[in-house]
């Protein structure tokens, strides 16, 4: 099977679906001639023309609002928000509109739209090119929120997202783009939008994470393996709906749990996972549920010592795992 980078896998998935389904189009800032600021849509305008890969004005509310309208009139738009940090002007359209249109119309209308956006830090992006604000959207019924961590899922999930009848927010960790490579089949396949995946099986500690943090967790888990502790690493993949069954299964099996995310912890995805475990796994726990995430500061600062302070690294995961192992 061909090895692809995460970014190539997303692009392949989009390109193949655009060839199969002429309703699919892309709308966003710099998506055309430049191919997006990270290059996800590179070459697509050349192949599919200016209508289907449409450079929008600099206006996020427009991008999402227009995508909603186009979706209601038969298209399958991909709205690209250049950085998750710049999604804010579109939040009204996402939360007040896209998430509620099916419900408020008593099922008459729906919004088959995909919103793609890069998130995450560790790229010297400072406060406004580093944020992980997925929890805001994971809170909202009516939205799907997914975060692939590897090229296989990236391709399968973008295709599944484009075939889903409801709005899907598809968030891409920008450090995965070129750093994460893996096997990606040529041709058509999908990956479900509501299922976690056990990336590595283990017995002693269950680690739940998503996006780039899956890789930090795997690396830290390997280090503990050398000392005889086996970690089960679960990639949540979907943050809404969240795969309760998978969470309960791994937490109950291991009895010790660490939840790892890059975002700050208060009222976050980690909070939700911890709550599910508290509700459903009380009798199986051998230690308090532990969480590791960013500090409670507004966003990731620029200067290297400050950025490092913020980032969740394999070293920090390892330290937390050792604390849990010793409990």
């Amino acid at each position: 099977m061909p090895q692809k980078s995460y970014i190539e896998a997303i692009r392949d998935g989009i390109r193949e679906e655009m060839r199969r389904d002429e309703r699919v189009m892309i709308l966003g800032e710099d998506v055309g001639a430049k191919g997006g600021v990270f290059g996800v849509t590179e070459g697509l305008q050349k192949e599919f023309g200016e209508w289907r890969v449409l450079d929008s004005p600099l206006a996020e509310s427009l991008i999402v609002g227009v995508a909603i309208g186009a979706a209601m009139n038969g298209l399958r738009p991909i709205a690209e928000i250049q950085f998750q940090d710049f999604i804010m002007p579109a939040v009204d359209q996402i939360i007040s509109e896209a998430a509620k249109i099916r419900y408020r119309s008593n099922g008459d209308w729906n919004v088959p739209m995909v919103l793609r956006s890069p998130f995450g830090g560790g790229v010297h992006g400072a406060l406004y090119h580093s944020q992980s604000i997925e929890a805001i959207f994971a809170h909202i019924p009516g939205l799907r929120v997914v975060v692939p961590s590897n090229p296989y899922d990236a391709k399968g999930m973008i295709v599944a997202a484009l075939r889903d009848p409801d709005p899907v927010l598809y968030f891409e960790h920008k450090r995965c783009y070129r750093a994460i490579k893996g096997e990606v089949p040529d041709g058509e396949y999908t990956v479900p939008l509501d299922r976690a995946r056990v990336v590595r099986e283990g017995q002693d500690i269950a680690i739940f994470s998503y996006g780039m943090m899956v890789h930090a967790s795997l690396e830290a888990g390997d280090r503990l393996a050398a000392d005889g502790f086996s970690c089960e690493v679960v990639d949540l993949r979907s943050l809404r709906p969240i795969d309760r069954t998978a969470i309960v299964a791994s937490a109950s099996k291991c009895g010790k749990v660490l939840i790892v995310q890059e975002a700050n912890l208060a009222v976050s995805v980690a909070s939700e996972v911890a709550a599910i475990i508290a509700e459903d796994c009380f009798d199986s726990l051998d230690a308090p549920v532990m969480r590791l995430g960013g500090p409670e500061i507004p966003a990731m600062p620029f200067s290297p010592p400050l950025e490092q302070f913020y980032l969740v690294t394999p070293d920090k995961v390892e330290a937390k795992l050792r604390e849990l192992a010793a409990y």
Binding site: D30, K34, L58
Partner: protein
């Protein structure tokens, strides 16, 4: 020596000293800009976003404002403006080197996210357009206190597509606030050309919809910029309300150090821009007018380069912020 009529016209009533100073400000910004690119290419600064090609109009406005009294809500291209108002090359070198002493943000923000409390330059984030509303609120406060302070805010033409642009102009015009909206139109928003950004060529046309003046100025003509800035500032200070100024400027560099404009602009287009560079044009004009003499510009340049060398050396030995400061300033540290 009596001046000819064309000279008088070209000078717009500006004395030689003012013209020379204007050129010096432009050159100072350009040389600093070039230095920051060098630091970026050497791998010492992860990011830079340039003002090259925008300097003339920024200098013109800077020179017509009262620093520390008037207010500025800038955007990331406004390097020259901040220098005229009193920030220094060292301030910005500290910022690109991410040092604790960076007065913009203590190394917390990306470079070119300007801010200087001492000079009434408000802190700016990355989201395009938000500053226009801040400027409008600042002007509201000045107005309510009966002060005649002027607030200048700026944005690229791409940014004018955001809703905030309309919301700010509308409110400022309703209340005749002393705010100037400066659109630095370089024709591109990263890779997106103006034709895909807006249906008409001139942002200034939109002023009509708010009942305020919309003025277009050639941003490569320093003297015209000065005249326009002087007029807009006077109007605001008199209490006659906002002006929308659109300066047609050039983006002589890629959008930022993360971009390569050769991917979406032709070589001929880039070459033509170089020819129109206001810095060279202004120098030629000043030499023609006899304001700059043989060797003056070169002397200025070596003086400014010396300043830059010193600033770079000092900034390089300035410490990084320590990790334990990352938790500071989320809320008040002192209760006030």
């Amino acid at each position: 020596m009596a001046m000819t009529r064309t000279e008088t016209k070209a000078r717009a009533g500006l004395d030689a000293e003012t013209l020379r100073l204007m050129y010096r400000h432009m050159l100072r910004s350009r040389l600093l800009d070039e230095r920051l690119w060098v630091l970026n290419r050497q791998g010492r600064a992860p990011f830079w976003i340039s003002a090259e090609g925008h300097e003339a109009v920024q200098v013109a406005f800077g020179m017509n404002l009262k620093p520390k009294y008037d207010w500025v809500a800038p955007y990331y291209r406004d390097l020259a403006l901040t220098l005229v108002l009193g920030m220094t090359p060292k301030d910005h070198i500290l910022s690109v080197l991410q040092r604790a002493a960076d007065p913009n943000s203590g190394g917390r923000q990306m470079p070119a996210h300007y801010g200087c409390r001492r000079l009434n330059i408000i802190t700016t984030g990355s989201p395009v357009g938000t500053q226009l509303l801040h400027a409008t609120g600042i002007a509201l406060a000045s107005r309510m206190r009966g002060e005649d302070a002027v607030t200048l805010t700026s944005i690229g033409e791409g940014g004018t597509s955001e809703g905030d642009f309309h919301e700010a102009m509308n409110f400022a015009a309703i209340h005749k606030l002393a705010v100037i909206f400066l659109v630095e139109n370089n024709g591109f928003a990263i890779s997106v050309p103006w034709q895909k950004q807006m249906p008409t060529e001139d942002v200034a046309d939109r002023a009509k919809g708010y009942g305020i003046p919309g003025v277009i100025v050639d941003g490569c003509d320093a003297i015209a910029c000065y005249r326009t800035a002087r007029e807009a500032v006077k109007r605001a200070r008199r209490g006659d309300g906002p002006t929308l100024v659109e300066a047609k400027v050039l983006r002589l560099t890629s959008h930022s150090s993360d971009d390569d404009q050769r991917r979406y602009r032709t070589a001929a287009d880039l070459e033509a821009d170089k020819e129109r560079d206001s810095l060279h044009r202004f120098k030629a004009t000043l030499e023609e007018l006899g304001v700059l003499h043989q060797g003056d510009a070169e002397e200025m340049r070596s003086e400014l380069v010396l300043e830059l060398d010193r600033a770079t050396e000092e900034a390089e030995v300035s410490p990084f912020p320590s990790a334990d400061t990352a938790m500071l300033h989320v809320y008040s540290e002192t209760g006030d």
